[in-house]
Amino acid sequence: MSPWFGFLKKEWTESVKSYKLLLTILIFSVIGILNPFTAKITPALMENFMPEGTVLNLPEPTALDSWLQFYKNFPQMGLFIFILLFSTMMSKELEKGTLVILLTKGLRRSTVITAKFAMGFAYWTLAFLLTFIITYSYTAFYWDQTIVQHVFLAAGCVYVFGLLLFTITLWGNTYFASAYGGLLVTVVAVITLFIIAIFPDSATWNPLQLLTGPPQMLTGDVVPKEMLTPFLVAMGSLLVFLLGTILHFNKKRL
């Protein structure tokens, strides 16, 4: 086993022992079930809560309602929980000093960052696939999905945005070497993207489009082509932050 895989194995063991695997599977399965479920029962709920005699003309829920729930729950609750779970990957080690022994044994500093990034990447993929597959299966079971467009592409946009946010968190976490430092950087980054989004012109390139665009993609109001520039900007920023993390850590005082 090479040092890189050795360290990755350590990351894996750590995530299992600290219940991150269990939490990820549970939380993202629940979100997956919640999406079609909420869409299905909302009309029934509304009828129950209304005073007797009120006539409500709610339309029957469709596959679109289920997917709109997905875009409400997954990027908000889901991404938020994911970032919280993985926001201390570096700071925990830097605060405790557990890396000192391994680094003074000749472990490459870049190995630490790339292995941690790979582990976060794998977990985010797992989280995304769980929620997506469960939502997709239930929606297909209850409704006709032909009315929604670009199901896979739209979900892929949110996935990429989550990856970018995780990389920013990793950078902040390494730079400030504290749990809150990483979160603060992430919050500031998101706020900045929202401020940029105030200017309508920015919609053509702002990575935030990857988060706000997908629901409109389902109805065909946004065409996939419009997502290309935001996607490229997101991937570019992701690489810059990842490289920045590696370069910073290479010269970090421990």
């Binding site: 040092p3 895989f5 350590k10 000093g97 022994i101 003074t104 044994k105």
Partner: protein
């Protein structure tokens, strides 16, 4: 020379923590690095490991110049931090396996080496995870991981400071045993620890090396002097022995006598019996490291 430090200066802001420090460490020795808390010992060690940049000067370990950050010289080093931190969910064996993988150790060698080291530090029977370990056990695991890849230089930062007497004795004997395969460089502020196992000693005081020599040379015997204690006080004994011609004086309630030959020593003993003086102890007059240090600091 396994390591040479050349004119190293380290500043934190405007504060000079290390001032032009030079030091060389010969192979297969135990090098004691003494100094008070805050003298700069840990800072120098961190510079040796590339964990901190030096302001000026160079450090060469096993022919490789130490660079700040990613440095190749670390492949020759085993390091035990003052408070070693491990991953609490691993057992000692699992942790050493991780370390072995990181140092690219051959699979065929790995198992046997880990067994050997666990035996050496007395952790081979422990099956519980590291989170349940006492401080002494962590320190011993720390030495095991430091020795794992047969480093040319073993650097230990205050390995005995936080331990009880039994733990301290264990660590010292492990370090002594390690001397056969590596060079040991350890810092301490406990002088008696350095005295017990070191070949050479250097002292760091306010950022400069104030002495560096072989331990034996430092605490060389004060020639032909012997220290006596009696059942009565040294002053009483001295007053009884006043008429003798030996050079005698009192130091800390012991009588120190100059006895240049064996016959002179025999004669002096006879005198003592004649004066009905009962000896409690007698030993050659040597200087303890502590006295050397105190003299230098005066």
């Amino acid at each position: 020379m396994v390591m040479s430090i050349n004119n190293v200066t380290k500043k934190f802001g405007g504060k000079e923590v290390l001032k032009n420090v030079s030091l060389t460490i010969p192979e297969h020795s135990i090098f004691g690095f003494v100094g008070a808390n805050g003298a700069g010992k840990t800072t120098l060690m961190k510079c040796m490991l590339g964990l901190l940049p030096v302001t000026s000067g160079t450090i060469i370990i096993a022919g490789e110049t130490v660079k700040f950050g990613q440095t190749k010289s670390n492949a020759h080093i085993g390091y035990l931090p003052d408070v070693p931190e491990f991953y609490p969910y691993y057992t000692a064996r699992e942790y050493l396996e991780l370390c072995a993988v990181i140092t690219n150790m051959q699979k065929s060698e790995l198992k046997q080496r880990i067994e050997e080291l666990l035996e050496l530090v007395g952790l081979s029977q422990t099956k519980s995870p590291i989170r349940t370990y006492s401080r002494g056990m962590k320190q011993r695991l720390g030495i095991a991981q430091a020795l794992l890849n047969r480093p040319k230089l073993l650097i230990c930062d205050e390995p005995t400071s936080a331990l009880d007497p039994v733990g301290r004795a264990q660590i010292l004997s492990i370090l002594q045993a390690a001397k056969s395969e590596t060079t040991v460089f350890f810092s301490t502020h406990i002088l008696s620890d350095a005295e017990q196992i070191c070949d050479r000693v250097a002292m760091l005081h306010e950022g400069t090396i104030i002495f560096e020599d072989e331990l034996a040379a430092l605490q060389q015997q004060v020639e032909h002097q012997y220290v006596f204690t009696f059942t009565i006080s040294a002053e009483q004994a001295l007053s009884q022995l006043r008429e003798l011609e030996h050079h005698m004086y009192i130091e800390e309630d012991t009588l120190i006598v100059q006895l240049s030959s064996e016959s002179e020593r025999l004669l002096f003993m006879r005198e003592l019996t004649d004066h009905n003086l009962v000896i409690q102890s007698m030993h050659p007059h040597t200087r303890l490291l502590e006295q050397v240090v105190l003299e230098v600091l005066k």
